[in-house]
């Protein structure tokens, strides 16, 4: 058996790395929400892709069908996603952790079915196009300032600037009294309640913020692809997010930067393996890698590559 040959030609192409960077940044923002929920509040949100989908579709529908300004549609879409977070959190956050996980994945799947079947709004599987004209104008003027020919470079800069900003904000928020109560809820909900803290309300706020972060990742993804269709939002997005989360380590926002970079270089790197595989097989291989990353980390390093054991051991 020979080692698979690796063709390095495409490695030197900047547009390829810009594409990888955009995806890594989008997933980074997506996972900030998961980190808040899982790493700092101890609630297992398996429906994060649902909030991403709500954010992306709400933005696109407001622009295309209600003829809103793109810039106004962004905060509105985030507000709608927060509303969805409250809607699913209110009844289901009282459930035991594993039932909550199932309820949230069911919610995300319902969102996907709505995107597929409410054709009047979402165009179903045909998808939505043309919601990004305002962004394209801004993007090309940024391109002009930078005098670059890389079409996706402005999106890369905006995505990572947002990701960086949100990471700093979340790290700061975590150090406030509010953030400390969240950790108390994670460690011992009954003790937090005994101290007079409304644990349920804190969990709900945590989920709502995760929904807001998910919506930001959602409309960035919509801008990246310039196209929206329901199959971009299947549950494997959430679980790829969990692979990023665990790689970076639980209870560490900064770890996400490393986690998302490593995973996306690994996933996109499969394109350079000169394996005798078809495109469908390569796509499947990428998810096999995600699966193996999850299994391997859980078996050998549950605190993640950069996580600290003393801060958070994956418990019950």
């Amino acid at each position: 058996m020979t080692l698979a040959a690796i063709s390095f030609s495409a490695f030197g192409q900047p547009e390829f790395w810009i594409g990888v960077g955009v995806l890594a940044g989008i997933y980074g923002i997506f996972v900030l929400g998961l980190q808040l929920n899982v790493g700092f509040t101890g609630i297992i949100n398996f429906g994060q892709v649902g909030f991403m989908s709500v954010g992306a579709y709400a933005m696109a529908i407001l622009v295309l069908k209600a003829h809103w300004s793109f810039w106004l549609a962004l905060p509105a879409a985030t507000a709608i996603a927060v509303g969805a977070g409250l809607l699913i959190g209110l009844p289901s956050l009282r459930l035991r952790a594993d039932y909550f996980a199932i309820a949230t994945i069911a919610f995300a799947e319902i969102i996907r079915y709505v995107a597929e079947n409410a054709r009047g709004l979402t165009n179903g599987n045909i998808g939505l196009l043309g919601f990004d004209s305002s962004w394209v104008k801004v993007s090309s003027s940024i391109q002009g300032w930078l005098s670059t020919s890389e079409i996706q470079l402005p999106l890369l800069l905006v995505t990572w600037a947002l990701f960086g900003l949100l990471t700093v904000v979340m790290t700061r928020v975590q150090r406030t009294p509010w953030g400390r109560v969240l950790r108390a809820v994670r460690e011992d909900e009954d003790a937090a309640r005994a101290l007079g803290k409304n644990a349920f309300s804190y969990k709900l706020q945590s989920l709502a913020i995760a929904a807001a972060l998910g919506s930001v990742a959602g409309y960035l993804l919509a801008l990246d692809l310039a196209f929206l269709s329901p199959d971009q939002f299947d549950p494997s997005v959430t679980f790829t997010g969990y692979a990023v989360l665990i790689l970076g380590g639980l209870a560490s926002y900064v770890g996400i930067v490393a986690g998302t970079t490593i995973l996306w270089v690994l996933l996109e790197g499969t394109r350079f393996l000169n394996l005798p595989l078809s495109a469908a097989q390569i796509a499947a291989l990428r998810f096999v890698i995600v699966g193996l990353v999850l299994i391997g980390l859980m078996a050998f390093r549950p605190q993640g590559l950069f996580g600290r054991r003393e801060e958070m051991v994956l418990g019950g």
Binding site: V38, I44, P91, S92, L95, R96, A97, D98, Y99, A101, I102, A103, I105, A106, F107, E109, I110, Y113, V114, E116, N117, S236, F239, Y242, A243, I246, L277, S278, A280, Q281, A284, L285, R286, F287, V288, V290, G291, L292, V293, L294, I295, M298, A299, P302, L314, G315, G316
Partner: protein, 333 residues
């Protein structure tokens, strides 16, 4: 299982009665809905829709029983269970179509190989993780990783092309104006027979009693001298074998399948398990039929393309209102 405590409907007020006997209230609501639909849509349409509901309900029930067994014995929500079904379907395909052996042997092969996969995974993954005292989230994420590996592994080998087993899917049986496919009828009968046998096995046999002891309290069962590793292995053989059977049967009755078969079915299996009460074979049967009927009856009221979403909504409603299942006893959930 334990005798159910019957509570009298004190005061005779409907509301209080409903609270004392929520199962009865649920059934009453369900029967009322059925009668309303029967009157509104006529016996023929309603009857045929009900037959469809029973058929898909039997798919859900057969698929769900392994999931509920593993959950109750190991407290493991196995997200890879759907992909066990897919594995079973492809194993049956290899023997039935590639090699050309009759379907019945292909199904037996699917049962054996999927059970073997269950055992292998217990030995290399789940047992070492239990020894480490791994918590819920690591096990959940591990089963999700496993689901990715199985589904996409199958896709890498077999491709995404639609496959079908060599089975007669066109012959139907008519009875008082209602039609049911011959293969579908076989699946319904198999499903009822298998789930009843599992229920009886749990109730009366030594293995079943030991499995229930583990489900009640793993450490206590171990302390009383039950060889827990052996019982867990038996649980995986049973769960894997039933998943292989379910996958092959589902693939036969539905006609075509892809590597997404189990993944698309998984959430419906969760719904069946939760509707019927987790950890109970009869519950999986009842929950499966209930889900099938809810989905198919919903097509009488709204467009059929919403029926899967209706099933998931029922799952959320069931979780919120009655997480212990329709027939389950109230306890901390």
């Amino acid at each position: 299982m334990r005798a159910r405590v019957t509570l009298g409907a004190q005061g005779g007020r409907l509301r209080r009665a409903a609270r004392a006997r929520p199962a009865l209230a649920g059934v009453a609501f369900f029967v009322a809905l059925a009668v309303a639909l029967l009157i509104a849509k006529g016996p023929n349409v309603f009857g045929q829709t009900t037959v469809f509901g029973v058929v898909s309900g039997s798919y859900f029930a057969l698929g769900a029983v392994g999931l509920t067994l593993v959950y109750s014995v190991l407290r493991l929500v196995n997200f890879a269970h759907g992909d066990f079904l897919t594995f079973g379907a492809y194993m049956a395909f290899v023997i039935n179509v590639t090699v050309g052996v009759p379907l019945i042997f292909a199904i037996l092969f699917a049962i054996a190989t999927t059970a073997a996969v269950g055992v292998a995974l217990e030995l290399v993954m789940w047992r070492p993780m239990r020894a480490k005292g791994a918590g819920m989230l690591p096990l959940l994420l591990m089963s999700i990783g496993l689901a990715f590996v199985i589904r996409n592994g199958i896709q890498m080998v077999a491709g995404t092309a639609q496959r079908s087993l060599r089975v007669n899917d066109t012959s139907t049986i008519a009875f008082v104006g209602l039609r049911i496919g011959r293969t579908e009828l076989i699946v319904v009968a198999t499903s009822v027979a298998v789930l009843t046998s599992v229920g009886l096995m749990l109730r009366y046999t030594r293995l079943g009693k030991q499995m229930r002891a583990l489900a009640d309290n793993f450490e206590l069962a171990e302390a009383t001298g039950i060889d827990t590793n052996r019982i867990v292995l038996a649980t995986w053989i049973l769960a894997g074998g039933l998943a292989g059977l379910a996958g092959a049967m589902y693939a036969s009755a539905v006609g075509t399948f892809t590597p997404d078969l189990g993944f698309l079915l998984l959430l419906s299996l969760f719904a069946a398990v939760i509707l019927g009460g987790i950890g109970d074979a009869y519950g999986a049967l009842a929950g499966g039929f209930l889900l099938g009927l809810i989905q198919e009856w919903s097509t009488l009221l709204i467009d059929a393309r919403w029926k899967v979403a209706v099933g998931f909504a029922a799952l959320i409603v069931a979780l919120v209102l009655r997480p212990q299942g329709i027939f389950g006893r109230a306890r901390a959930v």
